[in-house]
């Protein structure tokens, strides 16, 4: 199980990386943490002729707040989020997610942006990015553009990043006051992809009603799915057990999972609903709203 032969390049700057990606176009692939790409190449599911290794681009390794957004650079590894005080204190949804992706050793290599670019139907970051209203900054030969996560996730293993382009960072809006989130995942063992997953983000207004909600599910379709019907139900409403159950039902209805050795279609649909409810209960508990279980 060795990958097919390829040419290896390790650019020393973003411009150099873009020049290589432009020159080789569809023949080239970006190599970040390699935790999805290398296994895919070993199984010969991918056989790029050229790899552009961006690991030397330390300028793309950062977690910083700019203009009301948290920016996560393309070379920022999952482990950096797990140990960041900024993330654990202000971004609980991201902290939850970073602790549940893959296993602790994989997280020392894998990147958040690489995971989004890989767009595995059962990947974790796409779910959180939808609930958190993330945006991805993409650069190509002709300039830089910003794409919402909804437009970024095109199809399984396909994103808005085109040939010759590099994703530079993902941005998450900094949560306003009285906001919390939670990421929920059922996995068979540490390091397994999700059997089912859900992310919930809630902002409460001064009266305790939900001012804004973001809900998404994973392992339930070609890529992570935003549960708009649940968001519509939640926005403007007071959190109650009935409301949470209805939001879960909206997720059950939307989920369109495939049966595999992790579970049947019926089970996975049901778990999508259960996890949305659990995520809402956990997020509200973080805001001091209890008794909704």
């Amino acid at each position: 199980m060795f990958p097919a032969p390829f040419d290896y390049h390790r650019p020393g700057s973003v411009d150099e990386a873009l020049a290589l990606l432009t020159r080789y176009g569809a023949d080239a692939r970006v190599l970040a943490g390699g935790q999805s790409l290398i296994p895919a190449m070993r199984f010969r599911l991918a056989r790029p002729a050229v790899l552009v290794d961006i690991n030397a681009l330390s300028e793309l390794s950062y977690l910083r707040e700019v203009d009301g957004m948290l920016a996560i650079g393309a070379m920022t590894r999952d482990a950096a989020l797990e140990t960041s005080a900024l993330i654990t204190s202000k971004y609980p949804l991201l902290a939850d997610t970073s602790a549940l992706v893959a296993d602790p050793v994989v997280r020392q290599s894998g990147t958040v942006v690489g995971s989004l670019c890989h767009n595995d139907p059962a990947g974790d970051w796409g779910v959180t990015a939808l609930a958190g209203r993330a945006q991805i900054v993409i650069r190509g030969a002709t300039g830089t553009r910003t794409v919402t996560i909804d437009d970024f996730l095109v199809d399984s293993f396909t994103t808005a990043v085109g040939d010759g382009e590099l994703a530079l960072e993902v941005r998450f809006p900094t949560p306003p006051p009285r906001t919390a989130g939670s990421y929920q995942k059922i996995e068979r063992k540490v390091g397994d992809f999700a059997t089912a997953a859900a992310a919930a983000r809630i902002t409460l207004d001064a009266n305790g009603a939900i001012a804004d909600a973001g809900i998404a599910i994973g392992a339930a379709g070609p890529h992570a799915l935003r549960v708009r019907d649940a968001e519509l139900l939640l926005n403007g409403a007071k959190p109650t057990k009935e409301l949470i159950r209805a939001a879960g039902d909206a997720a059950r209805k939307l989920a369109d999972p495939a049966a595999d050795n992790r579970g049947s279609v019926e089970y996975k649909k049901d778990m999508a609903g259960v996890l949305v409810a659990r995520g809402l209960i956990a997020a509200l508990a973080r805001l001091g709203v209890e008794g909704l279980r």
């Binding site: 199980m1 060795f2 032969p5 296994p39 290794d53 296993d103 602790p104 050793v105 994989v106 290599s109």
Partner: protein, 163 residues
Amino acid sequence: MKISVTVNGTLYEREVEPRTLLVYFLREALGLTGTHVGCDTSSCGVCVVVLDGDRAVKSCTMFAAMADGHDITTVEGLVQGGKLHPLQQAFWDCHGLQCGYCTPGMLMTSYALLKHQPNPDEPAIREALAGNLCRCTGYQNIVKAVQQAAAETNAPAPEPVAT
């Protein structure tokens, strides 16, 4: 392509194919067979080595070319001056191994953990090793061994004995 990699303090320059995986470079090009291959599909953790002093990586899921210009520590690099590393001694003392197949990966993952968290509590050790599989020990003694090594590494150096 030509790569230069420092492994356990020694600089090696070798010609490799870009598709050569780090674990095969270590085992076959350098003859350092202490790093094992288990699943060969990034799932078991036996192939873990430490990159640049403190990052645990699965060497079956990294190209040797990516290590060009970098520093690798393998299980062979733990012994210093003929003396077992505190982690190795603790695995011995606590019966942290049976067949020993998983041990190099357990040691190197724990080594990177102690670089980041010199004083991990038991849940932190279990969490850090959650991706390393052992089919023999039941993990209990591995966790104990890492606890012992952490305690020893943090203990103040013994007072020189007056003669």
